[in-house]
């Protein structure tokens, strides 16, 4: 009987420690990094928002959802990508990335906040864990005219410049050409006469 109770006690201890381990640590831990890939954010041009989710835990994260509600519809138009994404399973040590492409509709200073991740820390977990991604911080959307002033090809400006400088190049050229033709004609006439 004492042996039986000792065995039972040992088994109970083992189960208890296993359970304790499952409660305190183990399970998935998701790190979400939200970053804006652009150097400049211009009204009317694409903004690329990149989400990277890393699983640094011991177990696979189940039913991973990424919810992005931080870009109001009045200010940003979604060009490509989804704002609510779902992955079935994210194994430990793995990462996934997701891209969202938006177009700002106005010129403003915007506070880009975090996105929300929901996932289950393991298969056996009952409820979802809610996590926040990183926040890119304040982003300033600049006017298209300011961007073009720096980066566009300025084709019309060059054309105008060409047209305005053409007279001061063409007129001396025509004068020279007329003179050359006249004197080369004279020279050829005189050489023909001599010969």
């Amino acid at each position: 009987m004492s042996q039986l109770t000792a065995c039972a006690f040992l088994i109970g201890l083992v189960i208890f420690t296993c359970g304790a381990a499952a409660d305190s640590d183990g399970g998935a831990q998701l790190i979400g990094v939200k970053s804006i890939a652009n150097n400049l954010i211009v009204k009317g041009m694409d903004v690329t928002v990149q989400y990277d989710i890393y699983n640094v835990g011991d177990k696979a994260a189940m039913n991973v959802q990424l919810e992005e509600d931080g870009f109001p519809i009045d200010y940003f138009a979604v060009r490509s990508g989804f704002q609510h994404v779902r992955w079935t399973r994210l194994p430990p040590g793995a990462n996934v990335s997701h891209t969202l492409i938006l177009t700002p509709l106005q010129t403003f200073v915007f506070n880009a906040s975090h996105a929300v991740m929901r996932y289950k820390v393991s298969d056996e977990a009952t409820g979802s864990t809610v996590g926040y991604t990183t926040s890119p911080g304040e982003i300033a959307v600049i006017e298209t005219a300011d961007y073009d002033r720096q980066f566009s090809a300025h084709a019309m400006d060059w054309l105008t410049f060409g047209m305005m400088t053409t007279p001061s190049i063409i007129i001396p050229f025509l004068l020279w050409y007329a003179s050359v033709r006249k004197y080369s004609n004279l020279a050829s006439h005189s050489s023909r006469k001599n010969n």
Binding site: Q29, G32, V33, S35, Y54, V130, G131
Partner: protein, 380 residues
């Protein structure tokens, strides 16, 4: 370290003395060459002198550059070592003064520098001032750049001269909301983590709320200086947050020893252009030496050639006169007999020996009038 700095000092002083000696010798040689230059008669010898002086100048400039580089290189590690020594001593002073300050506040009072180990009372004061972690918060981290650093089975090696990015994950296991304020990092002395070698900038998160049961991620990045290569430090990356009551906490997400290494860049523009510069210098030196050899060695041959050319041109002129200029083979294609110069450019009156005025000719000063001279010539 001390012997190394002494050796550098000695070499730097030697370089300075050598540079001084070379400089004075160069000054004297320049003055000699100036004199020589002015005394030279022919163009060739002047060019010789000029080429030699340019070569010497190049040599001196090269040596001066080397000396400067070694002096700077010798000086900067010296300065670094001296600066580090100063920093260390200053840091030690500061670390020791803190306990004395707090001790003075509490009434113990010790003048000047305290002893090396603070007393138990001073240590209690220090722990009261320091912020610690909250046991309701669980932190973990992941290196985004370099990816995979510090994972199980790999030592934590960070490259120098790069931006290191680390993501921190915070899990709120308590009952109240935490507000995350900042993250900061530091390089510390590996043997004594309370001694800070380099502090990195603090990044503010503006009180991001983490509700109970929720998690949040934070990114922190810092730059490693290229001068810190091949050294190991204790890296601490700490997250600063406060709880609902306003109590501040400073929780280390990373607190381990890292070793810095210099990353191997594929293509280094500096090295590439340095090699090009050295090749060009070598080519310039070779060209100078070749030019010197060309002007110096066949000097006798050239003199002999010119003399021979004059004699043979005289002989050719004589033979042309005697044979009434009907010896086309002797003309040598209009060139001098030695082939050095073109005789066709020389007016014939200079080549005709017979028509040269005799030695008893008058000097032009003694001519009375041109008409008289013409009549006297006609009479001759």
């Amino acid at each position: 370290r001390r012997t190394h700095s002494r050796f550098l000092q000695i070499t730097v002083q030697f370089q300075h003395k050598l540079a001084r000696v070379l400089f004075f010798s160069f000054i004297t040689s320049v003055s000699h060459f100036c004199r020589l230059f002015c005394d030279q008669e022919s163009q060739a010898s002047r060019m010789r002198v000029f080429a030699v002086s340019v070569l010497l100048l190049a040599l001196l400039a090269f040596h001066a550059v080397l000396a400067q580089e070694s002096a700077a290189g010798g000086a900067s590690p010296e300065d670094q070592l001296e600066e580090e020594g100063n920093v260390e001593s200053e840091g030690a002073e500061r670390a020791e003064k803190v306990p004395t300050g707090s001790a003075a506040d509490s009434g113990a009072g010790e003048p000047g520098m305290a002893s090396d180990t603070p007393s138990a009372e001073q240590q209690d004061e220090m722990t009261k001032l320091q912020l610690g972690p909250s046991d309701k918060v669980q932190l973990s981290h992941l290196f985004l750049y370099p990816a995979g650093a510090g994972q199980v089975g790999r030592s934590l090696d960070l490259p120098t001269g790069k931006t290191i990015r680390v993501a921190m994950h915070m899990r709120n296991k308590g009952d109240s909301t935490f507000h995350v304020d900042l993250a900061t990092a530091a390089f510390r002395y590996p043997m004594d983590m309370s001694y800070v070698i380099q502090n990195f900038s603090t990044v503010r998160y503006h009180g991001q709320d983490v509700e109970p049961g929720r998690e949040a991620s934070f990114v922190y990045q810092f730059n490693t200086d290229p001068q810190l290569a091949a050294r190991s430090f204790g890296l601490t990356v700490q997250l600063g947050y406060r709880d609902a009551e306003g109590k501040n906490y400073l929780h280390s997400a990373i607190n381990q020893t890292v070793s810095l290494f210099e990353p191997d860049e594929g293509f280094d523009g500096e090295t590439f252009f340095m090699y090009i510069f050295l090749i060009v210098l070598a080519a310039l030196a070779c060209a100078g030496i070749w030019y010197l050899l060309k002007t110096y060695t066949p000097a006798k041959k050239l003199a002999a050639k010119s003399r021979h050319a004059v004699k043979s041109s005289k002989a050719a002129a004589l033979s042309a006169d005697s044979a009434d200029g009907s010896a086309p083979n002797n003309n040598n294609g209009g060139l001098s007999p030695g082939g050095n110069y073109n005789l066709e450019w020389i007016p014939q009156q200079h080549l005709d020996i017979k028509n040269r005025r005799a030695k008893t000719a008058q000097s032009p000063r003694q001519r009375k009038s041109p008409t008289k001279q013409a009549s006297s010539d006609a009479s001759d």
